[in-house]
C-alpha cells in the first residue's frame, strides 16, 4: 500500500491534467522528455545539495528549508526555460502540464530513493505525506513557474523579470512547504485541495483565451489571404501600407516581404485549422508541402532582415506565439 500511495497520486494527477488539455497542445514525446528531466534533476540536485552542505557546513534544517528548495527549483526550471526559448510552449495549459511533468519526474525519483533507503520504514503514513503532499507540491511549483514565465513572455514583459518571478514563486512555495509550520497531514490536504483549484482556473482562462485568439485571427487571416489571392490586396489598408514601403526598401526586398506575408497567412491558417481538428479529436492534416513552406518562410525572414520584419509589424508580429504556432506544423 505504501508503494501505491507514494508513487501513484502524482502520476494520476499528471494523467488528469493531460486529459483535460482540450486542444491537445501537449506533445507526448516532450512530456516524456520533461519526466526524464525531472528524474535526472533529482540526482543533480542531490549532488549539489550535498556539496553545498559540506562546503558551507549547513545543518539539515537550513539545507532542507532554504537551500534545497532553491537548488531543486532552479534545476527543474531549466527545462521549462529551454522549452519556452524553443517556442514549444504557447499557452498556460501546456506550460502547466510540462511543468507538472518535470515535478512528477523529480518526485518519482526522490520517492524511489526514500523507498529504497528506508525499506520497511517507508510506511503508509510517510507514503501518504510524500505521495500526495511532497510529490504534488513538486509538480505544482514547476507548473506555477512555467505559467508565470509563459504569461510574461506572451505579454512581452521583460524576460528576466518573468523568469525571476516564476522561479521565486516556485522557490517560495517549496520553502514554505518545507517549513512544516502545520501538521504534515493538514499541509498535504491543503495541497490536494488548492492545487486542483488553481489548475481549474488556469485551464478555464487559457482555453477561453485560446478560443478568442482563434476566433479573431482566423477570420482576419482568411479574409486577407483571400484578397491576396484575388489580387485585391492593393485596395485594402494592408495593401496601402505595403505600397507605402516602396520608398524605403529595394524592390526585391519588397517582393520577399509580400511573399513572407502571404506565406505566413497560409501557414498560420493551417496551424489554426490543426488546433481546431485536435480539439475535435479528428486527426490533423499535414500537407506534403508544409515542410518546404516552413523552410521557405525561415529563408524569407532572413532575406527581409530585421528592418523588413519591423516594417511588417503592423501586419505580422512574429513574436513568441506566432513562432510557436508555426512550430505546431512541424
Amino acid at each position: 500500500m505504501a508503494f501505491v500511495f507514494g508513487f501513484f497520486p502524482v502520476i494520476i494527477f499528471l494523467g488528469c491534467l493531460f486529459l483535460l488539455d482540450s486542444f491537445k497542445l501537449v506533445k507526448v514525446g516532450l512530456l516524456l522528455v520533461c519526466l526524464g528531466w525531472g528524474l535526472t534533476s533529482t540526482g543533480v540536485a542531490y549532488v549539489l545539495n550535498t556539496g553545498l552542505a559540506n562546503y558551507f557546513s549547513l545543518d539539515f534544517e537550513t539545507l532542507s528549508r532554504y537551500v534545497a528548495p532553491a537548488v531543486e527549483e532552479v534545476i527543474k526550471a531549466g527545462m521549462v526555460f529551454f522549452l519556452i526559448a524553443r517556442r514549444q510552449i504557447g499557452f498556460m495549459v501546456d506550460a502547466a502540464i510540462y511543468g507538472f511533468a518535470i515535478g512528477t519526474g523529480f518526485a518519482l525519483a526522490e520517492n524511489t530513493w526514500y523507498y529504497w533507503q528506508l525499506g520497511a520504514d517507508f510506511n503508509t503514513i510517510l507514503a501518504v505525506v510524500r505521495g500526495f503532499g511532497t510529490a504534488i507540491m513538486h509538480g505544482g511549483t514547476m507548473a506555477i513557474c512555467a505559467i508565470i514565465v509563459i504569461e510574461g513572455v506572451q505579454r512581452s514583459s521583460k524576460l528576466l523579470i518573468s523568469v525571476t518571478t516564476g522561479l521565486l514563486a516556485a522557490i517560495l512555495i517549496h520553502a514554505l512547504f518545507n517549513q512544516f509550520m502545520v501538521n504534515p497531514f493538514i499541509q498535504t490536504l491543503l495541497i490536494i485541495i488548492l492545487l486542483p483549484l488553481v489548475f481549474y482556473f488556469v485551464f478555464m482562462i487559457s482555453t477561453n483565451h485560446l478560443q478568442k485568439w482563434l476566433e479573431v485571427e482566423f477570420s482576419n487571416e482568411v479574409d486577407m489571404l483571400r484578397m491576396i489571392r484575388k489580387g485585391y490586396l492593393k485596395d485594402s489598408k494592408a495593401g496601402n501600407y505595403l505600397s507605402s514601403l516602396k520608398d524605403h526598401f529595394e524592390p526585391e526586398v519588397l517582393v520577399d516581404m509580400y511573399c513572407y506575408f502571404s506565406l505566413y497567412l497560409e501557414l498560420s491558417i493551417k496551424a489554426k485549422r490543426n488546433l481546431l481538428l485536435k480539439e475535435s479529436g479528428i486527426p490533423v492534416i499535414i500537407e506534403p508541402d508544409v515542410k518546404d513552406k516552413l523552410t521557405e518562410i525561415k529563408i524569407l525572414r532572413k532575406m527581409i532582415g530585421k528592418a523588413g520584419e519591423m516594417a511588417l509589424m503592423p501586419l505580422v508580429r512574429m513574436q513568441h506565439r506566432e513562432l510557436w504556432k508555426l512550430n505546431q506544423l512541424e
Binding site: V222, R226, R229, E266, R273, E279, S280, I282, I285
Partner: protein, 109 residues
C-alpha cells in the same frame, strides 16, 4: 442564425441561414447536438443561406463530423457560398468534409 430541420428520405437536412459567428455559435451548437443525439445516420448541412462562418462555426461542423464518424454515419455539407467554400479550401477543411455543390447532389451522392 436560423436552423431548420427537414427529413428527405433517409437524410436529415439541416438548413443554416445567416451568420455562424461567435455570438451565434453556442445556440447553434446546442441545436446541432440535439439533432446528433437523435442518432440520424445521414445528415446534410445545407449552407445555401449561410453567409458567414468563423472558427466557432467551423468547430460545430467538426463536432458533428466527429460524432458521425464515431457512429458510422455520414455527414455532408452542400451549397456553400463562394466565399465560404474558399475558407474551406484555403484552410484545408475541404479535405475533412464531403462537400457537394447543391442539395440534390448531396442527396444522391
Amino acid at each position: 442564425m436560423n436552423v431548420t430541420v427537414i427529413t428527405k428520405d433517409e437524410h436529415t437536412v439541416v438548413a443554416l441561414r445567416g451568420r455562424l459567428d461567435t455570438t451565434q455559435a453556442d445556440a447553434v451548437e446546442k441545436e446541432v447536438v440535439e439533432i446528433l443525439d437523435q442518432k440520424h445516420s445521414h445528415i446534410i448541412f445545407d449552407c445555401k443561406e449561410m453567409d458567414y462562418i468563423s472558427s466557432s462555426g467551423l468547430r460545430i461542423f467538426l463536432i458533428a463530423q466527429k460524432r458521425m464518424m464515431a457512429t458510422g454515419g455520414q455527414l455532408k455539407l452542400c451549397s456553400l457560398q463562394a466565399g465560404i467554400q474558399e475558407i474551406f479550401d484555403m484552410s484545408g477543411f475541404s479535405m475533412i468534409f464531403s462537400i457537394f455543390p447543391d442539395l440534390e447532389s448531396a442527396l444522391n451522392g
